[in-house]
Amino acid sequence: MTHGGSLYELGLRCWLVFLLCVLSPCCEGGEPGRVVFSVGGAPNELDAWEELVKDFEKESGVSVELLRQPSDSAQQRQGLIVSLNGKLRNPDVFLMDVAWVGLFAHSEWLEPLRNIDPSPYFERVIEDVDTFRGELIALPVYMDGGLLYFRRDLLDAYEVGDFPSTWEELVSVSSKVQAKKREVEPGFYGFVWQGAQYEGLVCNFLEFAGSQGGFLFRDAQVILDTAENRRALHLMHDLIWKHGISPPNTYTEMREEQARTYFQEGQALFERNWPYAWKLHQADGSRVKGRVDIAPLPAPATGKSMSTLGGWHIGVSRFSDAKENSLKFVKYVASYEGQKKMILRLGWNPGRRDLYEDQDLLREMPFLKKLAVIFLNARSRPVIPYYTQVSDVSQRWINAVLADRVEPHKALQNAEEEIAALLERYTTK
């Protein structure tokens, strides 16, 4: 064979490989009846899923493929949106953050979960989040809600009483303890929470605002510029700029993990975070091990404590090519035994209400009792299809207030205007 001939052949092969790569998405599919389950998370969470999938395969004879996703939830959402918008047959089953369920449901991407009894779950959650046009479209696998973590040892040492139930108390206790503690630890702050420009900021805002009687969305209308919301924003702003009990990087860097590590380093008295932080605060090597306790978030003297509902819900794609088996898998994941297995391994908070009375779980995680009460009162973010956009706009303006760049009144007004323009775009026929 001549040199030119082999080159020609090589070119031809490359060409064929290229064609295969280009055309393969058109004939994706694989084994019929095989369930493709898309899930993201920390490595230990994925390992736990892997194990649960194996148990299910043994029990049912259905094969499941785990499609590992990045742990960043915005990237997970982006990935799912692209596959579902393209009506791909895979993934069949996926986990959704509670904040996306509205978008997915309104896009008609979710297959109704027939023949599943939702009564063992939190009624409010099923009603507000998982029911769409009268049908069950998702189930909570894991529940979350904002909590106040506090340093029991410091409250005792400085004799400032029990944990604060109002924001005013939180400010005064923080200022007192912070002033004294700074004599030995100059970087000490009273209260850390999530103020960076991202979804977590909206969760925090809804708690500050909700406890004042404020809201983001009511009667199918976004109403932001209210006295309650202004009060909440003033409070958030003042925690950083006036009272100085929240660090200056609250609005640039503070996300869940930054707040958690700050608190865990012993550098803060109070922390707003999700329940996941508990296990880490109490782990060996944590500087606050055995000194932490949890409580509901404070409220104004006349208000009621509010916790933003978080968590992950499981659903089946309407474009799935294995709906029967997918439903079987969802039933298994959402079952008493299935959830119990995951929870014992990961320390998650069950999506099922009946598990909060399970003796085995309570022995391992005694604080579940307190959490059940908080979840009962937790409020979901507005379950509307364009929630992400509403959240994007709100994040930007709330963050601008925290950065001391805009007055709360002006910020809320601007956000309201932007959202109104957005809604107009979506509602014109």
């Binding site: 949106i81 994007d392 775009r425 979506y426």
Partner: protein, 295 residues
Amino acid sequence: MPVKQNRSEGDRADAFGFMFPILFFMSALIMVPVLGTLADSLYRDVTYLPRKFIGLENYLALANDPAFWKSLRFTFLFVAVSVPIEVCLGLCMAMVVNEAFPFRGFVRATLLIPWAVPMAVSGRVFELIFNYSYGAANFLLHVFDLSREPVNWLGSEIGAFAALVVTDAWKTTPFAAIILLAGLSSIPGELYEQAKIDRASLVQRFFRLTLPMLKPVLIVAFLFRTIQALQIFDYIYVLTGGGPGGSTTSLSLFAYNHFASGDFGYGSAASVILFLIAMSLSTFYLAGGAVRRTL
């Protein structure tokens, strides 16, 4: 004559045959997405609403969207500040390593390191530098006793902007330097000797000889850097997330945010605007200098 004609037609057919694969790839990989985006931008393409042709409504909505104008302003400002800094520093670097000195090859290779580091990685590195509680920048302030309180670098509009420019300059100055170095080394040494004989000073040699000779390459460097800077996304995503208060949202982050929240039509319209800006700036640069020769 007719024979020659035939041959040239045959050549043309041959040439087309040779070019066909690359033309095919280019159209498949570049033109299809560009045209697809253009088409998408004319639709209301929101995941939870029926797809509908709406003409230029997305563009009209963009024109009325203060967030869009803000991101446009930021993007232009970023290009206007970062590109000249990068090209000037790159020119200095290039002139230094164009001189003969020991270990020149080694120095040239190390210059390229920042450019070889992936953007997301160098973004994380600079995040560690500018971090409020444990960042290297605040550590240095503390060590040299320059400030009693740590500085919240990314907390003000100007601080976040400056941090992004510094990060981008660190990363892309070597790129400009390499392009300019190629230009410098193609200037014949005899010209400098001649200039020295004519007693031209160092400054005169730079402004009268180096700069004019380098003009086409400088334009290429400006062009490449401008197009890349217009698309700035990675650093912002990692360092500021578009904050504080949305002040560092670039046009591509703006488009991405809309894609990510399920509005493909609006995101596409913003991308098309970005594309048009890059196109017209390129045309402007190319028309502004005799670049065709060097390309």
